[in-house]
């Protein structure tokens, strides 16, 4: 057939696009930087009450002060460690239970109703209990973060496994794959795109709950900076902490996407074409 003759080099070009970051990401900086500059200018002209809404220059000054004194590093480290432990625990538990309920209808009937009922409870409602059980220090905070991470990961994994194309699974059966081989060679790669999305939403909720945990009582962490700024009337410090959350969350999410991108070059999706 003549189709064999048209050997355009599609694949190499694709790989390049996947691994070399293009300067196009700078485009994403236009909006936040532009807004900051506009804010700075209008603040200079006195259009805002600069005491409550400090301009970017004051926020960066506060950030710089915290950085130089070494305080910032302490707070960032504390927050990141809590997120890391909470995210790790929540993601592992969510993955295991999601895989169980996704691949066995008996397990789904047995476990899923209970887990869905637990999910319906606002996670912050557990805080008093966690503090009674685990104390006011790290354990209760990590438990709260893990709980927040658990549900999106659990739901994502369960849904992804249940939605794997039956026809593709049948290919595995026709080639006599064992249960374990089926999981490794068919199910795992098939759910990977959904799994990464689930981990990303889990990570987002992890940051949400670390703030909740730190606001409720901590002596360090970015959440503590927020409370401290409120109590001492330092809005610049509050905004500095918020800025840190934005940057940390974005960077970690980006790392997660970047780290998993080589695994997903095969995808034939809409995003690739626009």
């Amino acid at each position: 057939m003549s189709e064999a003759g048209t050997l355009e080099k599609i694949a190499p070009a694709d790989r390049q696009r996947a691994f070399v970051p293009s300067p196009r990401w700078l485009f994403g900086l236009v909006l936040p930087v532009g807004a900051a500059v506009l804010y700075e200018i209008t603040a200079r002209f006195g259009l805002f009450e600069a005491r409550l809404l400090p301009p970017p220059s004051r926020v960066f000054a506060a950030l710089w002060e915290l950085a130089v004194s070494g305080e910032l590093l302490t707070h960032v480290t504390a927050t990141l460690l809590r997120v890391a432990f909470g995210f790790g625990l929540g993601a592992i538990a969510g993955t295991l239970l999601g895989a169980l309920t996704g691949s066995s209808s008996a397990a789904r009937r047995f476990l899923d109703p209970t887990l869905q009922a637990l999910r319906a409870i606002p996670s912050l409602a557990w805080v008093p209990l966690f503090i009674l059980w685990l104390g006011i220090f790290e354990s209760s905070k990590i438990a709260l973060i893990a709980l927040g991470v658990f549900f999106p990961v659990y739901l994502g994994v369960m849904g992804a496994i249940a939605n794997v194309d039956r026809k593709i699974v049948e290919v595995g059966r026709a080639f006599r794959l064992s249960r374990w081989q089926l999981a490794r060679r068919i199910l795992l790669p098939a759910i990977l795109p959904d799994y990464i999305v689930a981990l990303r939403s889990g990570l987002g909720l992890g940051f949400m709950f670390v703030v909740a945990a730190e606001i409720m009582g901590a002596s360090e962490g970015l959440g503590y900076l927020l409370v401290d700024g409120q109590q001492l009337g330092k809005p610049a410090q509050i905004l500095a902490a918020i800025l840190c959350f934005a940057v940390l969350g974005k960077v970690l999410d980006w790392l997660l996407v970047l780290g998993t991108k080589p695994l997903l070059t095969w995808q034939d999706s809409f995003a690739r074409t626009v």
């Binding site: 057939m1 189709e3 064999a4 599609i10 694949a11 290919v171 059966r173 080639f175 060679r185 095969w266």
Partner: protein, 260 residues
Amino acid sequence: MLTLDRLSKIYANGTQALSDVTMGVAPGEIVALVGGSGCGKTTLLRLASGLEQASGGRVAVDGDIIAAPHPDVGIVFQEPRLLPWLTVAQNIAFGIEHLPKAERDARVDEALLRVGLAGYGPRWPRELSGGQAQRVAIVRALVARPKVLLMDEPFSALDALTRASLQDHLLALWEAHRPTLLLVTHDVEEAAALADRAIVMQPRPGRVFKDIPIDLPRPRDRLSHDFAEAKRAILAALDGSLGNPHSSPTRISAPSGASW
């Protein structure tokens, strides 16, 4: 030798899809299963592949009873069903992972060459056309060197030109190791072009209606008189199997004054 012995299948909802089907397919023979919808062709194929269990009777390959997917039996589905996360070469090698790498690579390269896709090994399935993907799917089943290859309307989703070309590719592949070929089709031309025998099936419940030998030398000339005769014989049997040898659809005229 593929043998089906009084095979029947009743689904859980009570539908009898297959009733008492007995047939034998000789080694290297190509048999086309032809029939209207609901005659149990696909069910028969799924039982023969071991993907589904028979309610009665048995399937055997050289005396080995097929109750689950078996290394001697390969299957090609209606859709290519390639694994999108594997390259073309990895897809083809999917069923021969147990072989040494050198042997695997040799078989993959040889197969790609044979279906006119040399150099396509590193591509992703999404980069293939429908016809190319189905060629890869056929090759994936064949590199494991099964004694029997089952095909479930493998070319039905393709346009007529691509279909004819793929039928030629299939024959070229079959020449290499001459597996037994059992092919489900609803295309009379396809049956006449490929098969040594066309088995026409009858619906409700699915059973064998007629076994028509096609004694034409290969390569077959699709424009020849004998080819047309073979097609006519299959078509006539197909009409007979549906119990309406000369009837045409009844036309119902719309009631006068209907506003739609």
